[in-house]
Symmetry: C2
Subunit: 453 residues, 2 copies
């Protein structure tokens, strides 16, 4: 079987359209707009030129090697296109066309499988793929007049989604939260390439550090479990349709049968898959795993400039089974010099409102270097005194020291617009940062593997 | 006893300073910058002019009536200033000065109480107050060079905080989340005006619809319980220091003794106080209660443009004890015309990616007008197709219809920057909107009063 290839050197877009707004036009436009560096061949039997490129009448007319075909023709034509792909030794076909089992035409899917030969098929009824590292955007949105194009930032999360709409929403959300992705794949009806294949693919992909999956149904449980078990990279998954009403909605969304949530739960546990219960959690967990080592133990150090924030984080940590212990006497001695005299040094280490770069960095280092402590949360509240940039840079240095020691550092930044801007700086420096105490505590608990819902 | 007055027509700032950066300068500056319309009298025995205002040598030298005195002098001088307030019939004194029981000088607090007469004292060691409706900012931050001044938007949440830093952080956060406040009060050491007084005050305040409290300790449980029980407006509270480590941190933060979390929990329940477990929850609950009626029952309707989003919201609702039932046959008939034929109409009502203003509005109305349904969540995911503005305006109309019927409408908007901008439009139209399924489901569960942690 041909190798699945999601970083192709050449692409044919079969069903390329002359009409802006049509899927076959917009997908070609996205490939070009994404600054893709490989060769692009539009295929349309009517010929002519689209977006400055000469059309080929068929795949077979193209002389050069084609690594990927993106297909947007009507469903009834897709089997013959796939047969052409097989003849032409195309490695990967991304079938964006809909009109298959999701509308009661599973027969068309069987035809695809019959003629596909060595071709690996993504879809049909897939939204496409987005590869920020390529760069390559071979997905069909947007169709809106304002062209709200979205390409995620480069990063370490390989994302698989069974929902096309959610996939685009997640791409927007990732950018909004300053989270980097290595690749997004919309799997559509999963008649050939499924989650198991992609888990294997992401394990070979040098940019992917964590695999994140939004999943409504696993078709082949055995293959899925084996791939998950052999994965050397952590997997986080949302299985949607947990509740009965959710399952009912799943059935009418993708036609998936779902299956009892308990089965998924125990399967995930067996395969070492970390379960998330929403897209927010999926990103929070995956992002943290992409950037930080696991915690050494569940005893957490907290540094803050706001007493109240320190207390609420402490509460959130302890409610998830983490400990926020008194640090060693040695650490307390180091903290004493950094903390205003009217505040008692301890954990959380409350630096007071006026602390500067060095106070914050040294307090973070004192805690993360303490043998008792398994990981540190740097918590900042934006007051009228807070030296936001100083805390941010200090936190990056604490995180660097933590990585040397194999201990995670998480940021929890509470405030307004300026905070949002600083998040991007932290993200670039690979420090995960969350705007709420519960999200920060949850990811830390996940790193301590002691968090179970 | 004089009436507590947090919307004064005249203010003296005692301890006004000539030196920018000092608390006594910055507080005066904030009063002026906040576009306060009343009379302002700086008091400084050295005389001279500050920010264009002539200083008075003492409170008693001012001829006109003074409704509020804001005090920033050294702690040892505060008793004599309070004595002057009493002589001058000042109604409310906001004591920003620190150096009292929090640093081992409870004797100074006793002196204040001895000389205060009819004056109501907020603090000492308070950050001050911010009144967006006044407008009046009588709080001392910021001290930073860039003057990151923060005044919350006008709204219906009356906020009380025992933590000064957190209070400023919450003001920034409220603006970032497009949440409006009626007033913020930093209570400091609470020697006179406490949470109970402010609950009574907010019940009389025409702008306040909900009372939100960040609390580390209640000094007088009996007074607090009585005020909470007689409150006609809902109260949401975070009691920080739930865990043992959190309690330890509380003791070193405000010197508060805390007390067993179970006692607070059952007291809150008795008094009908809604308990939040973080500042995020505090705002989510308070904001929703300020804008929406309680749900009629716990059966929720969901409208969405993304199948996957609909399923995950359904899961989140059901995991909190809400139901997402099939709607009545009549409603299904109305939905049938609005939903693409390949999608089965139901609840969640999945409108597909291309739905427009009218589809979204009619689907929302169909569900909210269904007698089975107690409240509606309008959920939108930003894809390349989504008509963001159309959904937003449609959601506002659904919410309006819901209010007529006494049923709540919550938005759940998932995506990027454009989504954030639309949140402000929804906020202006008084529709609460949350960027995650769990937050949207949680507030709905709170409105159904079936959410218990």
């Amino acid at each position: 079987m041909s190798h699945l290839n999601l970083n192709p050197q050449s692409i044919a877009i079969v069903g390329a359209s002359h009409t802006p707004g049509k899927v076959g036009y917009n997908t070609l436009r996205n490939i070009l707009v994404s600054r893709y560096k490989g060769a692009v061949y539009p295929v349309n039997p009517k010929g002519g030129e689209i977006l400055g490129l000469e059309c080929y009448s068929s795949l077979l007319e193209i002389k050069n090697k084609i690594e990927m075909a993106v297909i947007t023709t009507p469903a009834v034509l897709v089997p013959s296109v796939i047969a052409d792909c097989a003849k032409k030794n195309v490695e990967t076909a991304v079938v964006i066309s809909s009109g298959f089992s999701e509308v009661g035409r599973p027969d068309l899917e069987k035809e695809l499988l019959k003629v596909k030969g060595d071709v690996r098929i993504i879809g049909p009824n897939a939204l496409g793929i987005k590869n920020p590292w390529g760069p390559l955007d071979a997905a069909f949105g947007p169709l809106d007049a304002t062209f709200s194009y979205v390409m995620p930032k480069k990063g370490g999360i390989g994302l698989i989604s069974q929902s096309g709409a959610l996939l685009l929403g997640m791409a927007h959300l990732a950018n909004e939260e300053a989270i980097g992705l290595s690749l997004i794949v919309s799997v559509g009806n999963k008649i050939d390439v499924d989650d198991a294949d992609l888990i294997d693919y992401f394990n070979e992909d040098p940019h992917t550090k964590v695999i994140a999956i939004y999943l409504e149904q696993v078709n082949n449980g055995d293959r899925f479990m084996k791939a998950a078990k052999r994965s050397k990279k952590p997997i986080v998954a949302v299985k949607a349709g947990r509740s009965e009403a959710g399952l009912r909605a799943t059935a009418s969304h993708t036609g998936a049968m779902g299956g009892s949530d308990k089965i998924y739960d125990s399967a995930f546990r067996q395969a070492g898959i970390i379960r998330a219960f929403s897209v927010t959690e999926l990103f929070d967990y995956a992002n943290t795993l992409a950037l930080m080592p696991k915690a050494r133990n569940s005893r957490i150090g907290i540094v803050t400039n706001g007493g109240g924030l320190g207390i609420t984080i402490t509460d959130a940590c302890e409610s998830l089974g983490l400990e926020v212990p008194q640090p060693s006497p040695e650490t307390l001695k180091r903290l004493r010099d950094l903390i205003p005299k009217e505040i008692k040094p301890g954990n959380p280490a409350d630096l007071g409102g006026l602390a500067n770069f060095s106070d914050c960095r040294e307090a973070g280092k004192a805690l993360i270097e303490d043998n008792k402590i398994g990981g540190v949360i740097m918590a900042l509240v934006q007051t009228g005194l807070t030296k936001l940039e100083e805390y941010t840079s200090a936190t990056i240095e604490v995180a660097r020291r933590g990585k040397e020691l194999g201990k995670p550092t998480i940021g929890c930044w509470m405030g307004g617009k300026q905070i949002r801007d600083l998040r991007e700086i932290l993200a670039e420096s690979e420090v995960p940062i969350y705007p709420s105490v519960s999200r920060a505590a949850k990811v830390m608990a996940m790193l301590c593997s002691c968090y179970t819902k």
